[in-house]
């Protein structure tokens, strides 16, 4: 019985591998080369076994994991020492005093961070902060509104390009007028938020009536269209070469040397993260947030309650886009260079993974997920090549074993107690 199921698993996985080889053939094996106006198809046969093996292994791991999970679920939740310790730990952290002091300790650590560690680590942490903002923004759309957005990186790009283009077109007149170009950052930050919000509204218009797969495809297409437009309008955006020498923000009237600028951007990012957390929490607790959550659960019931779905979805996309726009400005200021390659589908997927792995809808989860996904590849350079593969496997494992993410959303979930009723 056991071996037979193993054999069928292997058989199924082989079949899946075959399917993947056929489906991915045009993408992974055929490559069209245009030389001197003549298109020639190159067949990269070497890729074929790789696709097959990868698909087989993944499919097999997936099956085994599913199986294991099922057996684990079958056994009544055995409360091992580990489970008890975890329960005690979370109880411990639920105490307001301890919560407060641990948050304060964390804040103190974050403030000391750039002074304790060097510029390299500060820069890595800035990137992580940017992803935290992106994750929290996307979480409004995905976690709260339940709308899948695979083009989220485009809003990030809109923000970055807002700053880039401001620098490219408004910057020179600042210089000639003798105005400090450091102000551009502070003008671009809210402006990028607004521009990205407008794009969010723009995108939400065609997708208002869509859900699920269709929504995913349309948003994906939007992301790609944005990237291609940036790539192909070289006159305006610099095309594939992008925009460079974007100024870092100045400290009042003072241009900072790179090390100090990194610290400065670090603190700007830190403050933005705090503001984002604050605002997102307010949104969650607001009437609109409640309606978004309800919309995710049942659209028809929402309509019967008088919720305007169109308006709600618009707000969702707009709010999500706003934070991405601001994050884009931070990113442009940090790297001082932007090009369309920073805003690919992969970027959208990584942000989505941060949300899903961390815990959809959970603010600490999303923060943890974003930091994890950004820091790990920085400190495990050797594995950077396999980053997407590892992320993919991690995501599959999380979906199977911890479907609510690593730090799941904590809902006020009291259950009815008979004792209380008797009183």
């Amino acid at each position: 019985m056991k071996t037979r199921s193993l054999l069928t698993d292997i058989g199924r996985s082989l079949l899946n591998a075959l399917w993947f080889m056929i489906l991915l053939f045009p993408l992974m094996v055929m490559k069209v080369n245009v030389t001197m106006g003549v298109a020639k198809v190159d067949f990269r046969w070497g890729n074929l076994p790789l696709v097959g093996i990868a698909a087989f292994v993944l499919s097999f791991v997936w099956k085994i994991a599913l199986d294991w999970n099922e057996r684990r679920g079958g056994k009544a939740q055995s409360n091992s020492g580990f489970g008890a310790a975890k329960a005690r730990l979370s109880e411990y952290f639920a105490k307001p005093a301890i919560r407060k002091s641990s948050i304060l300790a964390l804040m103190a650590f974050a403030i000391a961070y750039p002074f304790l560690f060097g510029m390299y680590h500060t820069n890595v942490m800035i990137t992580a902060f940017i992803y935290v903002i992106l994750g929290l923004g996307l979480n409004i759309v995905v976690g709260l509104g339940g709308l899948l957005n695979l083009g989220y990186a485009a809003f990030f790009g809109v923000g970055a390009y807002t700053y880039g283009l401001m620098w490219k077109y408004v910057g020179p007149s600042f210089v000639s007028a003798g105005i400090n170009t450091g102000w551009l950052f502070w003008i671009s930050l809210p402006l990028a938020g607004i521009v990205a919000t407008l794009f969010g509204v723009l995108l939400s218009l065609p997708v208002l009536r869509l859900r699920g797969d269709y929504l995913a495809i349309i948003t994906l297409a939007f992301g790609e269209i944005f990237r291609m437009v940036m790539q192909n309008s070289s006159d305006i955006t610099g095309g594939a070469t992008g925009i460079s020498l974007i100024p870092r923000p100045w400290f009042f009237n003072q241009k900072l040397p790179p090390i100090k600028a990194a610290t400065y951007i670090y603190f700007i990012a830190f403050v933005l993260v705090i503001i984002t957390i604050f605002v997102v929490r307010r949104i969650e607790d607001s009437k609109v947030g409640r309606a978004l959550e309800a919309m995710r659960e049942d659209e028809i019931a929402c309509q019967a309650m008088g919720v305007n779905l169109v308006k709600n979805k618009l707000i969702t996309f707009a709010l999500g886009a706003f934070w991405a726009g601001m994050a884009g400005v931070l990113m442009a200021a940090q790297t001082t260079y932007i090009n369309p390659d920073s805003f690919t589908l992969w970027e959208s997927i990584i942000i989505l993974m941060a949300v899903v792995i961390g815990g959809t809808g959970s603010i600490p989860g999303v923060i943890g997920g974003a930091i994890l996904l950004k820091l790990l590849p920085e400190y495990f350079r050797a594995l950077a090549q396999y980053r997407m593969l590892i992320y993919g496997i991690a995501m599959i494992l999380v979906i199977i074993f911890k479907p609510d993410g690593l730090i799941p959303r904590r809902r006020k979930q009291y259950t009815f107690e008979r004792k209380e009723a008797a009183k």
């Binding site: 049942d298 008088g306 009723a421």
Partner: protein, 237 residues
């Protein structure tokens, strides 16, 4: 003038015509029931009134004002509230949060608080479970929640879609008593869709029999209860 007036409405799902021109009129303060077999178009009728499945022909009037082309949220704003088929409570929201959703369009905090207390006094079981997730309630409790949620909109006209579906007889009894009570005490007009024709006709003033998207019969509830055809087809007698 009737509070609610459907005039020859027809509703489609794609090319399928679910309502083939039906007219219903509900007077202020009445309980009117709409009975019919599965697939007759009862749910579609309520959804059409709410504007969730917009009508393609005919017209709907509320208090003499045409609401056929209004969006669902406008219609709710005008005092129409629905307990949808299958309850459709929000499973991941607590009982209190579900009730808050019912009051979504209201902003009178005091009034909302008062109404929450009122529905809790109608359904004490909900008060005990106010912090429990909607999805963890039993079927009967979910129905109570669905009714309470609709009441939180402080409706003028309450639409109920098969509130007895899948519930134990005792719970059904309780729900029907509450419907009557709401109608009497709050002066809420009720349009009640039911397959449980017997119970529905017992508390209603007037009834309509719907068959294949058409109104087959309409009369006072007493006379429908005595009608041979109705007794055979819908009361199983």
């Amino acid at each position: 003038m009737a509070l609610l007036e459907l005039k020859d409405i027809s509703t489609f799902y794609g090319n399928i015509q679910a309502l083939k021109g039906i007219s219903i009129s509900v007077d202020e303060g009445e309980i009117v029931t709409l009975i019919g077999a599965n697939g007759a178009g009862k749910t579609t009728t309520l959804m059409s009134i709410c504007g969730i499945t917009p009508i393609r022909g005919g017209a709907i009037f509320l208090n003499g004002k045409e609401i056929s082309k209004m969006s669902p949220n406008k219609i709710v704003q005008m005092g129409v509230s629905q307990v949808p088929e299958g309850r459709r409570i929000f499973p991941q929201l607590t009982v209190s949060e579900n009730l808050d959703m019912g009051a979504f369009l209201r902003s009178d905090k005091e009034g909302i608080k008062r109404d929450i207390e009122e529905v809790f006094s109608i359904f004490p079981r909900l008060a005990e479970r106010r912090n429990q997730l909607g999805g963890t309630l039993s079927g009967g409790e979910q129905q109570m929640l669905a009714v309470s949620r609709a009441l939180m909109a402080n409706p003028h006209l309450l639409l109920l879609d098969e509130p007895s579906l899948g519930l134990a007889p005792l719970v059904v009894q309780n729900i029907f008593e509450v419907i009557q009570k709401i109608n009497k005490e709050r002066k809420t007009t009720v349009l009640l869709v039911e397959q449980n024709a017997n119970m529905a006709l017992k508390i209603a003033n007037k009834g309509y029999v719907l068959q294949n998207g058409l109104i087959k019969m309409s009369d006072t509830a007493e006379r429908l209860l005595e009608n041979e055809e109705v007794r055979k087809a819908y009361l199983g007698l």
